[in-house]
Symmetry: C2
Amino acid sequence: MKKLYKKVLKQITPTKKEKNLEKKIFKEIEEKIMKIKGRHSCVNWCGSSARDTHLRNDRDLDLFIMFDTELSEKELEKKGLKIGKMVFKGQKWEKAYSQHPYIRGIYKGFDVEIVPSYKVNSGTEIKSAVDRTPFHNKYILNKIKEKQKQEVRLLKQFMKGIDAYGADLKNCSMPGYALELLIIHYETFENAIKEISKWNKGKIILFENAKEKHAEQFKGAPLIIIDPVDAHRNVASALSNEQFQRLVYAAKRFLGNPNEKFFFKEKTKKLTKKELKNELEKRELIAIKSIFPKKILPDLFWGQLRRFLKKSETHLKEHDFIVERSHLWSDEKEIVFIFTLREKNLQKIKTITGPHATDKENSKKFLDKKRKIVAGPYIKDGRITIDIERKETQSKKVLENFLKKMQKQEKEALQIFCKKAKVLDEKEIIKHYKGEFAEYLTRYIKGKEIFE
Amino acid sequence: MKKLYKKVLKQITPTKKEKNLEKKIFKEIEEKIMKIKGRHSCVNWCGSSARDTHLRNDRDLDLFIMFDTELSEKELEKKGLKIGKMVFKGQKWEKAYSQHPYIRGIYKGFDVEIVPSYKVNSGTEIKSAVDRTPFHNKYILNKIKEKQKQEVRLLKQFMKGIDAYGADLKNCSMPGYALELLIIHYETFENAIKEISKWNKGKIILFENAKEKHAEQFKGAPLIIIDPVDAHRNVASALSNEQFQRLVYAAKRFLGNPNEKFFFKEKTKKLTKKELKNELEKRELIAIKSIFPKKILPDLFWGQLRRFLKKSETHLKEHDFIVERSHLWSDEKEIVFIFTLREKNLQKIKTITGPHATDKENSKKFLDKKRKIVAGPYIKDGRITIDIERKETQSKKVLENFLKKMQKQEKEALQIFCKKAKVLDEKEIIKHYKGEFAEYLTRYIKGKEIFE
């Protein structure tokens, strides 16, 4: 196994040249900022590059400008943004939002974030979420052993390989900080994977200051890692149950067959159009295609999209369709919802089973409902039963009507989504089969986890 | 309401002429039997005609020859049958079976049963089920008031009208003796219907000697009427839950709209073939047609048929079909099983959801099963999931294979049933649409209870 790890590490450890360049650039920017007059006392290099746990070619630099706590939030924002813009003078930059606005830009090939932050004394005194980051930095640097940095890199690459890396709503997965904590907790990559493979839903991981009772506030979460910097925070809060189960499953599969595939995704061999056609004949697929609206924070929209997918599925179920699977794909330009249905179209007549005939009160209620009964009431298995006609029997129509209705009810980005949406039947799915979507659809149909 | 009852009674009360004829025939047969030498002491006229609670044109006479208890069962049978045959000399007769064999024949237009029976002193001393009948006779004659006999007739006709009369397995309903007991218990027809409409599943009716604890042995039965002659018997044991619910429902509907329809079935107006075709387009129907084997006691076979219908339904369900309704029709010549399915044919691919990915033991078991996996394993809603191909997707083929298999496994009458069976698709159902079956199918499709 050691051989495998060496091979992987060789590909993912940043080179010395890379690291020196990072340092040089940090110094450059720090100097620039400190030359500017204002209420800031220093620049804090945070994030994984600062902690030497980053992956090769990450090219991310997170810099925190530390301001006096007596500054108002408004002033902090104003002054912080001004400094940020000055750093990127002549370069490409944009205003981004976390809890505060901050400036993000490209500086000599690096993605640099300049975040204004309050200089507080401990993690529990923080004024906003961004102020916590410098404490994370300190905690990790304090606790991590030199040789464990490579273990973190292995774990990060593993998570990347199985698509479980990143705390944003697109991935619903594990942030880098959580992975560093896991290595501190479990010591090595191999041990971490062994332990992960044994996790059960509701797994709790605590550090020195935290106690079991701190976990209570996160009841229901699949994984709870109490932030050693702030016990009111679950570092793994973005992790969905789905991703949690995938992660445990992947760890188990890795132990059974340790393999480079788990670290580096293999390219999916796309089905040919003919193969796709053949596969579609065996199942009932239907899709909604739309565009990813511009001028919206992708992270925010991913959450909305996920909820809207569930809503579409619920709508299909309310119209008696049996949804065997559903999924969401997007390259942040195009969006596709895909549904596997038990059947494309339903029969016109639907049987509704009511209460037992001896249950007078509920029988009356059941029969008093306004419905056009086309057969019955009759007694089936002792229950009052009626047949009614469905208004709509075609899944395509049901989804089209749903999108029309939602276009009026939803707001902003989802409204655009609904307006631009088109329901694709199998013929249209085949027409649309190309590029990254084709790769995704192949994976959906083959139903293979990327690491298998 | 009184007017309605009078009108009904006018049609169902036997005429004086009819009653005199019954008496005359009894006397004739009694004389014949008593002239024959043997260990019998008397002839007992039993059944509803003896109790004057029978319906017009029943033309049933049940006669019990009472033998000494010291006779062996073998001798009782031998002597009893001999006497029976002598009564019908020159007429049409047959050997029939209850607990003992007995002779049944046509005598001057009447269905006469000559049953050999032991003369015991009380209902609890009886040697076999038939010996109980004379005690039923005594009990009813003792308890019933003269004017209540008409109330019994109304209740019998009501049960007949809603198809809930008869204790045999064809009807799964109420024997005449139970209805007489109900009138003794509830006094009048109207009161009985009012009380029936309030019944709940597990209703218990007790007479003077019986106690609640006697009902315990029948736990689970929808209706328990402890036989006042023998506390170990539930007089309503044949009543199915289905029929119980129909009965309560009918009583409730009758109270809301007292009407002759409840006593005398109206003829169903058959759908035309064109209407039928139109209705079949809105649903998915499939049927099994076969013949009612000769040389089998119909009562016994009805029970087997009912179980075989359930078995067929289970088989469809095991092959993933959703059976919305199923029913059995027979005129005791032809038999039809009819099924309403959610869909006629299924998709080739089937999704099977396994345990949570974190449940190691069961995940392993799930994946170790021998199955040809065509997609997956993948994680869906946190669960291990696989897709497999179905061997058979057509409901018609599934039923045909089932009948072939059952032909080898079942015995006697059901084997004949399977051998002669044919699965009918909708086209073939339309071809077969005629006579009594057409009337039945119309009722099935319209889903109307006969009293509505």
